[in-house]
């Protein structure tokens, strides 16, 4: 199949075939980062704007490296350095940026749906790099790729996602992604962090971490957003860590080849212990490496040509 979409706004909108194409394309791009010269001329002359209205190191850097490895020019705009601080609306920002003729906009925004608004307003491809508590599609794609790469398949796997499900765009995108690809998703976390009627998404809810450990092929720990503690979602970090923190002891009944994942940044000693985060089952740094390859694949698919290849002309 060939890529036909204009934007990447969420995993919910992607078909199984589209996800498959992205993952297959990612496999090809991963090799580029292992070369002596980690750069290909594919997007030479193209401009990618990273528009970040929320702090981010990992995702923004990953997008920037991905674009640069494809030889695109990148411009980084963050809230503090943009006209947003002068009162400009997102719509005006978008129209002004489009007038400068970029080839792709990558946006992170605290408001759910902001990338969708931008995509409707602009002719250039828009990639959602995280919008509020809604979706983080590129994180889910790199997670899917990492699991497929390590296990060899996605269908039939049992994936546990643990922690603050309610506020997590990573969890939401991964629920859509893994269930679409035929995996069984199990969620665990404090009841105060359980989204209402989450079972409608085809997932299973558990009240304790210990319940999900023995059966899981993949355990994905979510970052506890420390500011949430003030919101009264759980009494203390210590209690959260005792009930939902992943450590060597609680992992004892886990399957031998279980994969431990975390989207980062990690609160060591809170949601995951250092021994587990750096342990033999952890694929946390593989996730980061694969993030660059996934984003290269997406930029290639979105910014590249549109029709069927005709190699005979070469």
């Amino acid at each position: 199949m060939r890529w036909a979409g204009k934007d990447i706004l969420g995993i919910q909108e992607l078909s199984i075939a589209e996800i498959q194409l992205i993952l297959d394309t990612t496999g090809s791009f991963k090799e580029v980062s292992t070369r002596e010269i980690k750069k290909v001329p594919t997007l030479r002359g193209k401009t990618v704007i990273n528009l970040f209205f929320e702090p981010s190191t990992r995702t923004r850097t990953s997008f920037e490296i991905a674009a640069k490895r494809l030889s695109a020019d990148t411009i980084n705009i963050s809230t503090s350095s943009s006209s947003v601080v002068k009162g400009e609306t997102l719509i005006d920002t978008a129209k002004n940026l489009e007038a400068m003729k970029p080839d792709c906009i990558v946006i992170r925004h605290p408001a759910s749906g902001a990338p969708h608004l931008l995509a409707r307003l602009m002719d250039v491809p828009v990639i959602n790099a995280g919008d509020g508590a809604h979706e983080h599609p590129t994180q889910a794609l790199l997670d899917l790729f990492t699991v497929r790469e390590k296990v060899g398949r996605l269908a039939g796997l049992k994936v546990a996602i643990v922690g603050d499900i309610l506020h997590s765009r990573v969890a939401r995108s991964n629920i859509h992604g893994f269930t679409k690809m035929g995996a069984e998703v199990h969620l665990a976390g404090p009841p105060t962090m359980k989204p209402a009627a989450v079972e409608r998404l085809g997932v299973h809810w558990h009240r304790s971490l210990a319940e999900v450990i023995p059966e899981a092929d993949v355990i994905m720990m979510l970052r506890i957003q420390l500011e949430r503690q003030e919101g009264g979602f759980f009494p203390t970090l210590r209690e959260y860590s005792r009930l939902f923190g992943l450590n060597v002891d609680i992992l004892k009944p886990a399957k031998p080849g279980v994969l431990i994942m975390h989207p980062g940044p990690i609160n060591r000693g809170v949601e995951i212990s250092p021994e587990v985060a750096d342990g033999p089952f952890s694929v946390i740094l593989d996730q980061v490496t694969n993030g660059v390859a996934v984003r290269m694949a997406l930029l290639y698919l979105l910014v590249g040509g549109e029709k069927e290849a005709d190699r005979s002309s070469l």
Partner: protein, 182 residues
Amino acid sequence: MRLKGKETVMDGEEIERALVRITHEMLERNKGVKDLVLIGIRTGGVYLAERIRTKIEQIEKFKVPFGIIDITLYRDDFAMGLPQPLVGKTEIPFSLRDKKVILVDDVLYTGRTVRAAMDALIDFGRPKFIQLAVLIDRGHRELPIQADYVGKKVITAPQDDVMVSFHEVGNPDRVVIQEKIT
């Protein structure tokens, strides 16, 4: 689009003979297998490079390193709103620094694929030199590129299709020219 005037220009036996000759030419010209590396251009070039590698092994009792290159990311028409090709994997698990690289493809036409492949190869290290082996040279070059080893030169019109089929994918070994009528 209709096709007419189908003509077989090489059958399995002729392809085999050409590859035997090319293999001996390579060994003679490079004085053996020292530092020799074969790189097949995806897809047809890969099958041919593998066959040449087997022949070299039969003659020299040595398996020369072998790699696969996908030129998609180096195409010079990518930014022109042209087709978006699927990206295949490049598999060169060794450095090409100071190696005698023989690039293998099935058909040499405009020369743009070979240019893209050479650009890609140089990103894997600076080879001592690059030579080019092709099964068919059909002419119509758009770049100053010439093959060092040629199975057969054929005269074609620009609108012709040159199709090479391989037994590796379940088809008889054959080179066919078809005249395209649009």
